[in-house]
């Protein structure tokens, strides 16, 4: 059975070289980096070596890197930790509408603590609206958090420009979740002008269990895990040395191979983006065209539903994702597609292929061969499609029509009886 992995926004395959860099720290070098005897010192060296490699990738100083366990933890630490440190200066926070849930839900948590949160809207391609962002800035705005690149639709924000808008019009700090950007495009914290930045190993061919938060020298942050002195007393807990060693190696490799990887991946992406619409009618690209992640392909396939699409793809050995309501555990259309004002019925057919350096031309050809038949199979059983074929019109749906029967338009879920 073929296995073609095209869900690299959720996790990448571990690079063999990163894996090998981890191995000594499982069995032989098991000392706690905080212990001052020799075995501890070996672990400490690995930790600090990795810190340098991570810092190098993003143009930071090693002492500006705080290791965490995952991107969600980094985003929690950034949003809550920076806001709490500045609460005497103001209580207003801005996040973009398409942030990861670890940013959005951290902001929600802060709302319960008395902060006020505004959401910066995006246009139909997923670009943060600069004028709207400017309008949202206030005297008491203390933090702005805007993702560098969106994992679902691939849109890359002009962070440098957004930072200057924020800095010219407020005293707020700027955090960016750069998980999808790091290792894919050049990211330099000095050039971008950000105060904090999140990156993670698991989507750049490193292991799960290691991520980092860059916090600019001099910026105060309140720890979200209290305990010992690890990570400059900003994140307590015994360090995951093997994972961090793998993370460091992954950063080193990414810095070296970024350009050649991006060229390879983008070629495959462009083939899919060009040829899928030639083979399948009524499909629409979601996200930006030019400022787009090298590996991101997201189409809305009209008249069919996304989970059904990726299940049939899986049966052919192709692993992909979808932003449809049924594919989401909470049964809501992806908040990213919703924020971009993608037609809700059409967005239910979203299918997301995210490519990696390990994908090949042959794999993409296989997808191009198999996918049209899968779409056709589902369209052949879709009442929306037969209605369209018979009448040339889209089935009108929504509140007040016959198709609204028993449905709460907010989440469309009939209560279990």
């Amino acid at each position: 059975m073929k296995r073609i992995y095209l869900d690299n926004q959720s996790n990448t395959k571990l690079d063999r070289r990163a894996f090998e860099a981890m191995l000594p720290y499982f069995e032989e070098c098991y000392g706690n980096p905080q212990s001052i005897y020799s075995l501890g010192a070996v672990s400490k060296d690995a930790l600090e070596e990795a810190r340098k490699d991570v810092a190098n990738l993003i143009g930071a100083h090693p002492e500006e890197i705080i290791f965490t366990s995952c991107a969600s933890e980094s985003n929690n630490l950034a949003v809550k930790g920076l806001a709490q440190a500045l609460k005497s200066k103001g209580r207003h926070i801005i996040a973009s509408a398409i942030e990861h849930f670890s940013v959005l839900n951290s902001a929600k948590r802060l709302e319960k603590e008395g902060f006020e949160v505004s959401y910066a809207p995006v246009d139909s391609k997923g670009n943060v609206d600069k004028d709207e962002l400017k309008k949202l800035l206030r005297k008491d705005t203390i933090l702005v958090s805007i993702q560098h690149a969106n994992p679902e639709v691939g849109t890359i924000q002009n962070i440098k420009e957004l930072v200057s808008i924020v800095k010219e019009n407020s005293a707020a700090l700027f955090h960016t979740d750069a998980v999808c950007a790091c290792g894919v495009i050049d990211v330099n914290v000095v050039d971008l002008g950000v105060d904090a930045l999140t990156l993670a190993a698991s989507v750049m061919y490193g292991p799960k269990g290691a991520a980092a938060l860059f916090v600019k020298k001099g910026v105060k942050i309140i720890p979200q895990t209290d305990g010992g002195v690890q990570e400059f007393s900003k994140r307590a807990g015994t360090e995951n040395v093997p994972a961090i060693a793998g993370f460091g190696q992954a950063c080193k490799i990414a810095a070296r191979e970024l350009e050649s990887n991006a060229a390879h991946i983008q070629k495959l992406r462009d083939k899919l983006i060009k040829e899928l619409p030639e083979k399948i009618e009524h499909i629409y690209l979601n996200g930006a065209v030019s400022n787009r992640l090298a590996g991101n392909v997201n189409f809305s396939v009209e008249f069919v539903e996304g989970e059904a699409l990726f299940l049939l793809l899986d049966a052919k050995g192709i692993m992909a994702a979808s932003g449809s309501a049924c594919a989401n555990k909470n049964l809501k259309l992806s908040h990213v597609l919703a924020a971009m004002n993608v037609d809700v019925a059409v967005g239910q057919g979203s299918i997301l292929f995210t490519l990696s350096k390990y994908n090949t031309q042959e794999e993409i050809d296989y997808v191009l061969n198999e996918f049209p038949a899968i779409v056709q199979k589902l369209r052949d059983m879709s009442p929306l499609y037969s209605h369209f074929l018979k009448t040339g019109e889209r089935k009108i749906a929504g509140p007040g029509t016959d198709y609204d029967h028993d449905h709460d338009n907010d989440h469309c879920q009939i209560e279990n009886s």
Partner: protein, 125 residues
């Protein structure tokens, strides 16, 4: 463990009774494209018995599997028997559904019942 049972995957990948019935005795439709699932059921009824069922479904794996399962369950049953098929019966026949997919089984039973009600209302005229 796989997200869906083997039986769900079988009915999803090889759905039975997909299609439409011309001059059907009853047609029932539930769901909403905006919600990501919509089902249209067609029934052919003779001497109070469901002779044939066809459906078209827009939806996720569970929605398609439920449609296929409920169509199989209905064929050969009397109108009253069909009206007594519950969503729980459908889910049980499928070897269970993930909790967040249970509403799909409601839709399947509802769509079938609507088609039969449509037949009954025509009979009443």
């Amino acid at each position: 463990m796989a997200f869906y049972s083997e039986k769900v995957m079988d009915h999803f990948a090889n759905p039975r009774n997909v299609g439409e019935i011309e001059n059907a005795d009853g047609v029932g439709e539930v769901g909403n494209p905006v919600c990501g699932d919509m089902m249209t059921f067609y029934v052919k009824i003779k001497d109070d018995k469901v002779e044939d069922v066809k459906f078209k479904t827009f939806g996720c794996g569970a929605a398609i599997a439920v449609s296929s399962m409920v169509s199989e369950m209905a064929i050969g049953k009397t109108v009253d028997e069909v009206m007594n098929i519950t969503n729980a019966d459908v889910a049980k026949e499928l070897g269970g559904l993930p909790p967040n997919k249970m509403h799909c089984s409601n839709l399947g039973a509802d769509a079938l019942h609507r088609a039969v009600e449509n037949y009954k209302s025509k009979q009443g005229k």
